[in-house]
Each structure stands twice: as C-alpha cells, then as structure tokens.
Symmetry: none
Subunit: 245 residues, 2 copies
C-alpha cells in the first residue's frame, strides 16, 4: 500500500445512492485510503450506507461538510474527476495515469483531496472552482463511469505498481532435468509400442517426434514425476494384460 | 481502446446480484469490451439486470452457459481472478499489472477468457481447474473487492496506457483451445482409470490435479491432436484387453 495514504482524502459531493457510498468506501478500504469526507450527501443515503456491511468502520469515521470549500480547506492540492463531454472546461485535464503520478508526488508534502461529483451530473461549475485540475478516466465514447467503479479505478491507479512487478514467488517452478524428460519419453514410447501405435518400420522417426513432443511440454520437475507415475501404471497394465493373452 | 478487444470475453460465474451484473456490464461498456458470458447466473438476477438501464445492449447480447467448461471451450487462454487468502492455490498467481500484459499479448492470436467467481466465495476449486493462471488485485489485507469494481479495475488495467505492442512473430504455434485440452484430460483420466491408477475414493481430487497438470503443458493445437491420437490408441488397447479377460 501507499506510504502516505493518510495524506489523501476522498471527497464525495452530493452522493444520492447509499450503494454508491458503500461501494466507494469499500474500494477505499481495499486500497488503503481510509479518510472519507462527504459533502451534502442525501441524508437517508448516508444513514443507510453507514449501516451497510463491509465498509462500516470507514463510513462511521467519515466527516460531513456543508460545502466543498469547507471539505477541502486544509488541502494543498484539490483534484476533481470528470467524464467531460458536454461542459466547457477551464481547468487542465489530465489522464488518470498521469494525474495519479502528480498526486503521488504531492502526498507526504501536503494534504490532497480527490473529489467526485454526483452520480447524475458530476461536479458542478461551482465545485470545479475549488479544484486545481481535473482527472479523467479514458473511457469509450467518454461514457461516464459508475461512481463506485470510478473511485475504485482512481485509487487502484494510485497504488498500482509503477513498474510492472514480475510474477509471484509461486511462479518459477523448477524445470525437469533432461534425464527426467527422457524417462517420460521412454515410458510413453513403450506404452505406444504395446498399444500398436508405433509402426515398426517408422520406429526411429516416431521416437524422434515423440521426444520433441515431450520436450515441448516444458514440464517442471514435480510434474515430471507425476507423468512418470501415471505412464508406469498404464505400462504395467498393458504389460500384464499382454502377457496374459 | 484496445485494438483486439473483441478477442476478450468476460465470464461471470454464478453471479447472484443483478446490480453486480449490471455494474460489470457497464464497466465493460466503459472500457470497450463488449463480449459477456454468464455461467449459471441466478435466473432472477439475470432477468433483472437485463432490464436495467445503461448496460442493456451489452447484457442483451450476453451468452449463457451451464458450465464454465462450455463457456471457455473456444478460448486459448483462460485467466481466473482471485482475492486469495484462505485457499491453497495450485496455479501461478500473477499481479494484475503483470497479468494484464500477458493477456494483451495473447489478444490478436487467440480468444481470452477473464473469469470472475461468485460474490461470496469467488471461483470454486472445480472452476479453477479450467484456468491457466490467476490474477490478483493487490488489496490491503487481501480483502476481496466488490465484483463490479474488480471487473472495472481489471479492464482498466487492460486498456491503460495504450502501448499496444504486438507480440513478436517468434511465437507462431497456435494454442490449443480449452476444449482440445479437455479432451486430452478426459482420455488420460480414462486410461488411468482402466489402469487402476485412480483410487475410486479420490476420483474428484485426481481429476482436478490431472486437469491442472494437462493445462500446464500449454500444448499447441497440433500437439494436442498428437497427444489425443496416442492416448486414444492406448485407451483402445486397454479396453480390448480388459474386455478380453
């Protein structure tokens, strides 16, 4: 999680839907941003959201303000969010990928407010006056996002690993040795021989193709012993039934 | 938006809440992924979501499947999503930032399925058997995300910073589809059953382990038919000798 996450507060202005309040709080909790401020939420929505499961502690600690000005009074950087489209904007508009980088730089030095408008109309022109600049999530045809999802995506971008992290420690399975691969090839070849798959005239060609095939599996060492165990059991069955007839 | 977005389908398994279905569809629409597949959704939820505003056209075109196997049958890469934590995972687990890069590489070459489990419990172990690997969104204390938000964040990462680097021409082998891989698994399982390898008490565990094993082969389409041919020959031999005794 982000080191200076406590320097960021999410500000929701005039939210109507309790589910959206809950969803925003859950995303905050998910990404480690625990300071929520609400401006003029619909009273009922706020009460309902507070009693919702999951995001409860975060919502219980949310601070309520009568105006955006008061909600961001102690902040050194105020960033609004917008789906743009219809309105003429007088603010610098930055793509989330870039804007998040600027926000991260500010954290640790001052308080940052990330402001989301109402579900229907977003931030009003009056709200925009309190913002230093705006962030925009690049969507298809500039269609606006669901509020809870927009909060989730913005916060995800803030905590996102700047340089893509390589796979987890679970990933690098130890490759099977050439000897292990060879044992698989031999067992498989023998099973195919007993099953009549191998044409005696073309044995050597089949053998070569089969070795390449098995090699292409790029099997791990632990998988190699699994394969070998299975093939030996099949072999055993083929041999006992063959000798019985 | 992503050039090969049509090669990706989002697969929702057992979704219960119509609001989540609607939210997932809206995020898809926002980020330009228009192919939705649903596996066993709660009938009522699906009906309600379909009549919801906003995501309607996308949901109307959603395809319904009785099982995950059928939903991903035509896919060459199946990626599950997980909040991990409780379960012991047998799959490579990749952070979203890195996993999304791998998915982007596959798009344009084959169909990719991005699979999300139920709200409560995520993907079952049986579902996981059909996945090549798993993606995880790095959250605080590994708390699981809301379904609609998880879909939004994953798709955002896929379209984020559009450096659509095409995969190199070095990787020309066409991947086997999930259906081809499934046929191999079934043939192998049957052979093992006839050979007495499979303990009747532990059939389902063995089946799961075996599916994962076969999936790890990352077999190409042409190799898949080779394997299938060999296994069927072995099977035929095992069956004829079994019935002969």
């Amino acid at each position: 999680m982000l080191k200076d996450a406590n320097d960021l507060c999410v500000v929701l202005v005039g939210t109507r839907n309790p589910l959206n309040l809950g969803a925003a709080a859950r995303a905050m909790s998910n990404f480690g941003f625990l300071r929520l401020r609400v401006v003029n939420p619909y009273a009922l929505a706020f009460r309902q959201a507070r009693s919702a499961v999951g995001a409860a502690p975060l919502l219980a600690g949310a601070q309520e303000y009568p105006s955006l000005a008061e909600a961001v009074a102690d902040c050194t950087l105020v960033v609004g969010t917008t789906a743009i489209g219809h309105r003429e904007l007088h603010h610098p508009l930055r793509r989330l990928e870039y804007g998040a980088r600027l926000i991260r730089k500010e954290l640790g030095h001052g308080q940052v407010a990330l402001v989301f408008g109402t579900e229907k109309t977003g931030l009003s022109n009056q709200d925009l006056c309190h913002c230093h600049w705006l962030i925009n999530i690049n969507t298809r045809q500039r269609l606006s996002m669901n509020l809870g999802q927009a909060v989730a995506v913005c916060l995800y971008e803030l905590v996102r690993a700047p340089r893509t992290v390589k796979a987890s420690a679970q990933d690098p399975a130890v490759r099977a040795t050439a000897k292990e691969v060879e044992l698989i090839s031999q067992a498989l070849l023998q099973a195919l021989y007993l099953s009549g798959y191998v044409n005696p005239i073309a044995v050597s060609t089949t053998e070569e193709r089969l070795r390449r095939l098995v090699r292409r599996m790029q099997v791990s060492s632990s998988d190699a012993s699994l394969w070998l165990g299975m093939l030996r059991q099949i072999l055993w069955k083929l041999q006992t039934t063959n000798s019985g007839t």
